[in-house]
């Protein structure tokens, strides 16, 4: 584990999960792999914390779960974005961008 890995800020895990699932339905392990790969292994996610987040999002109705067969024919629980999940993702994405822009501005000018 290199020192360049950073912990995820509070509340961003939900956003990352939603974004990952926006491409296609996936099971938990694939979600974690995907986030690691895309973020060039910079973001460090405690793999265990992924599942409570997935279950919470499911309860909120933003994603829904279905058991299906995986690529190597094993049973796996697939998560899929719902309509209200897609809306939530858009809202969270734009909020995130605003936050980044604002923080960036402060850092540059202050």
């Amino acid at each position: 584990m290199s020192n360049e890995r950073i912990d995820l800020p509070q509340g961003t895990l939900d956003l990352l999960i939603l974004k990952t699932l926006a491409l296609e339905p996936q099971h938990g392990w694939a979600v974690s792999e995907r986030i690691q790969q895309i973020s060039s292994e910079v973001l460090r996610i405690q793999q265990g914390s992924l599942y409570p987040a997935l279950h919470r999002l499911e309860r909120r109705g933003w994603i829904k779960a279905k058991w299906g067969a995986s690529e190597n024919n094993r049973r796996a629980k697939y998560y899929e974005l719902t309509k209200s999940g897609r809306k939530q993702l858009e809202a969270e994405e734009s909020a995130w961008r605003k936050l980044i822009a604002a923080v960036g501005q402060v850092l540059e000018t202050a």
Binding site: S32, Q46, Q47, G48, S49, H55, R56, R60, W67
Partner: protein, 878 residues
């Protein structure tokens, strides 16, 4: 939001499979991760180690997932409930007392609320009943509303008003049904066409009146149709005999139809058209209307008063200064009982408060004995909020059980309450019409009330009990709270007892009123003559003459009399008379046609002059007897015997336009003065009355009174038979003994007294139980101290005074507060009191003594037990 809830419920109900799925999901993740590392060249052990490290604690992840399901709170609650139930089972005595106490409080409230629901909340059984309005002509000057209007006025209102989409006039009338089996006097209603359409009621069979109908048509209620005509549908178009004439049956109304939902009990059983009276001053029609859509009550009122003003201008003789008041039918129906309802609800709310106070006290003692348990749980890390939740869950369980038992109690009391309902009030009619049972509104009320009581009795004890212990000071303070609660309980009970005491005294006074005649062994019955053969005064008088003669000869009849208006029946006809002379004076009196033996039969004393005689007949000069009130009012310092007055007689005359009533002036001589009777009711002071021989002022409707030697009700069959020997077609109705009449008269007050009395009794018992509980707990706590005192030589009596004295302070404070509150609150009872002021000192003293005696007994028993303690045992206590 909804999907969230569904998810939680599923998680709760499918707990096992959720767990299994979670297991499988996490294991699958773990295996994939291990495989990934094996592929990258690690050994199986090394791969598993790394995967475990990256994953974090498995059990912790699972717990976090369960948290995500949103069921942990509910599960904790279920755990609390299970724990609470175990706790309550461990102290069965406490639980039983608390549950029964709450059941009495909640049950009483539920019972009274279901009465309120039936009488006030449930809509009247007509179409959009909130748009139905009653019309009342108002005299602008006195602002006094009249109940009825005249036919021409009604017609003008009907034609000129646009705010009402329909309007109808009606008035009650008794009609004799003959020609089938026993003749029967029925309550009927005369109405203008369109009444049923206005109410939104379609006849079950046939149709309702139309303006083109012959006046001799009739609509039957479903119940009358079944009872008298066997429910035969072929009745439509057939003729029946009413008042000796044939009426053709136009329709049958649907089952359970009642109109009007009157305040005076009996609903009409048949409906016939109104006979128009062209006299604009003859007020006999009640008017009802249905407000048009989008019109407000205010707009309608403005329009109607505009119409009234135009009529006042056009017909100043009859309509001058006359306005129109509107009252929503649903409001009109319950006016008079609404206040009673609130008084009852207030009284029963006191019972609940007392019950809650008691249970709060019980919980406080419980809390003290559970100090150790609380301390241990705090020590192992339970937070205060966690403990509060636990204690409140227990309270909620108690409230729930109390509420359930309370609903059962209410279910059991409803029939009792229904049988006690006073007739001739909308209590009776509404309950009779709408049925009296527990419905969902009542259940909702019961649930809300249980939760409310839980808050009332549970919050304070839970707060105190979970307060971190700070030496013994806390328990002293708890002791004070308990004393304050006892004081409160005594004060609340006092108010209820004072109310019940005042009402009881009123009822005793009312039933003890001198009615002016002897009520025992008097049988009364009404006979009204109908048909062509009784259209003449001679025939009417002849019929009653024969009936009186026949009844007189019955073996156990001592004497027989007849009168137009029986005392205590609230019926009379008042009219004016003139006292002639150089300065003629006008007077007002109730007119009664009576038989000569009426006074003797009733036991009304003759004060001066002579009674009416059989010799006073149609052919002899007109005579009259007055009562003492009339004599004193119009001849305060003289004997009226021998004076002449000019009386008014109303004569009905049928014309082509309808029935017109004309007034004739007739001179009569006063020949005697008799004692006053309570004509209008037990509580109504006597008014001037004038009695004339029925042979001179014949009437088609008279009440017969029989003074009997034996039980009056045993004479009913023979008396009826004798009357029917004279004419088998004349119905005999309202057969009652005078004692029954007196008891009906007091029924309204008795009903309120019964309920408030029951509440007061429950309050007294609860207060006694509460005081007993607090004192016995207090002395038990002080066993050690008492032991020391006794060891040092204190005698039993001193200990007794010590314990009693400490508690007496709070009892006295309670009673004082009770007196103050009662002084403020018993005013609300004024309407139910008779000859008793709401602040009657004697009642207040009696109630204080009763309450003090019961309270001191509740103090004495445990205090006495404390003195019996063996000092050695006491010193070793704890």
């Amino acid at each position: 939001m909804l999907s969230d809830l569904l998810y939680r419920l599923r998680a709760l109900s499918r707990r096992k499979s959720m767990e299994a799925e979670l297991d499988e999901e996490l294991r699958a993740h773990f295996e994939r991760q291990v495989e990934k590392y094996i592929q990258s060249g690690l050994t199986r052990e090394e791969a598993a180690r790394r995967a475990r490290l990256e994953f974090g604690g498995l059990e912790q992840v699972k717990e976090e997932c369960r948290d995500s399901w949103g069921v942990t709170l509910i599960q904790a609650l279920l755990r609390d409930v299970r724990y609470g139930l175990r706790q309550l089972r461990r102290t069965p005595g406490f639980t039983a007392v608390a549950v029964v106490t709450l059941a009495l409080g909640i049950g009483g409230n539920v019972a009274v609320f279901s009465l309120l629901d039936t009488v006030l909340l449930r809509p009247l059984p007509y179409l959009h009943p909130d748009r139905l309005y009653m019309f009342f002509p108002v005299e602008a000057e006195s602002q006094r509303a009249m109940v009825a209007s005249s036919y021409p006025n009604f017609q003008d209102w009907h034609e000129q008003s646009h705010a009402f989409e329909a309007m109808a006039g009606y008035h009650g009338e008794s009609l004799s049904l003959t020609g089938t089996a026993e003749p029967e006097r029925l309550d009927g209603l005369r109405s203008t066409p369109g009444l049923f359409a206005l109410l939104g009621i379609l006849p079950l069979l046939g149709r309702e009146f139309s303006p083109s109908d012959d006046p001799h048509v009739v609509l039957l209620t479903y119940e009358l149709w079944r009872r008298r005509f066997g429910g035969n549908a072929a009745i439509i178009g057939k003729s029946i005999h009413l008042e000796g004439r044939t009426y053709s049956v136009l329709g049958v109304l649907p089952p359970h139809f009642h109109f009007p939902p009157s305040r005076w009990g009996r609903a009409p059983e048949l409906f016939v058209p109104v006979i128009p009276n062209p006299d604009r001053g003859w007020h006999y029609l009640r008017v009802i209307g249905r407000l048009a859509p989008d019109i407000t009550e205010q707009q309608a009122g403005t329009e109607m008063n505009g119409i009234a003003a135009r009529l006042a201008q056009a017909y100043p003789d009859t309509n001058r200064d006359q306005g129109i008041a509107l009252d929503q039918l649903s409001q009109y129906v319950v006016s008079g009982v609404r206040e009673t309802m609130w008084v009852l609800l207030g009284a029963v709310a006191f019972v609940l408060l007392i019950a809650c106070t008691n249970v709060a006290n019980l919980l406080l003692s419980q809390g003290a004995t559970r100090e150790r348990e609380i301390a241990i749980r705090t020590a192992v890390g339970a937070t205060r909020s966690r403990l509060l939740r636990q204690l409140l869950t227990e309270s909620l369980l108690l409230a729930g059980m109390g509420g359930a038992l309370g609903v059962a109690l209410a279910y059991w009391t409803l029939p009792l309450m229904a049988s006690a309902l006073p007739q001739h009030t909308s209590f009776f009619t509404r309950v009779h019409d709408a049925g009296f049972k527990l419905n969902s509104t009542v259940f909702t009320f019961a649930v809300l009330l249980s939760v409310l009581s839980c808050a009332l009795f549970g919050l304070l004890p839970a707060w105190r009990t979970t307060k971190p212990a700070r030496g013994s000071g806390a328990s002293v303070r708890t002791g004070r709270i308990r004393s304050v609660l006892i004081g409160l309980e005594v004060a609340l009970s006092f108010v209820l007892l004072a109310g019940a005491g005042l009402m009881m005294k009123s009822l005793v006074r009312l039933l003890g009123v001198d009615v002016g005649f002897r009520t025992e062994r008097l049988l009364t019955m009404d006979v009204s003559l109908a048909g062509e053969k009784y259209s003449s005064a001679e025939n009417q008088a002849a019929f009653f003459g024969q009936v009186l003669q026949r009844l007189e000869s019955l073996p156990s009849v001592l004497s027989v009399g007849a009168t137009v208006d029986l005392p205590l029946t609230r019926s009379w006809t008042r009219d004016s008379f003139e006292i002639p002379g150089p300065n003629p004076r006008q007077g007002l009196a109730a007119y009664h046609a009576v038989s000569p033996d009426y006074f003797r039969t009733m036991g009304i004393p003759l004060l001066s002059g002579r009674e009416l005689l059989t010799a006073d007949s149609a052919g002899t000069p007109l005579v009259g007897v007055v009562n003492r009130s009339l004599a004193q009012k119009y001849w305060p310092n003289e004997n009226p015997v021998g004076k002449t007055i000019i009386a008014t007689r109303a004569v009905e005359q049928s014309t082509s336009k309808g029935t017109r009533v004309e007034f004739k002036q007739q001179e009569l001589e006063i020949v005697g003065v008799v004692g006053d009777v309570r004509q209008l009711g037990l509580d109504a002071p006597p008014d001037p009355e004038l009695f004339m021989p029925y042979t001179q002022w014949a009437s088609s409707e008279m009440s017969l009174v029989l003074r009997t030697a034996s039980d009056p009700s045993s004479l009913i069959p023979v008396a009826k038979k004798e009357i029917w020997r004279v004419d088998p077609d004349q119905p005999v109705t309202d057969i009652r003994t005078m004692d029954e009449l007196v008891s009906t008269e007091a029924a309204g007050r008795r009903f309120v007294l019964q309920l408030i009395g029951a509440f007061a009794a429950i309050a007294l018992v609860l207060a006694a139980v509460g005081i007993y509980g607090v004192v016995s707990y207090g002395t038990r706590q002080r066993t050690h101290e008492i032991g020391i005192r006794m060891a040092l030589g204190a005698r039993g009596q001193q200990i007794l005074w010590l314990v009693a004295g400490q508690n007496a302070k709070w009892l006295l404070i309670g009673i004082t507060t009770g007196v103050a509150s009662a002084l403020a609150l018993t005013r609300l009872l004024t309407a139910y009191l008779y000859a008793v002021r709401p602040t009657d000192p004697l009642t207040f003293v009696a109630v204080s003594l009763l309450l003090l005696a019961v309270a001191m007994l509740a103090v004495y028993i445990p205090a006495r037990r404390a003195t019996k303690v063996d000092p050695m045992v006491a010193l070793r206590y704890e």
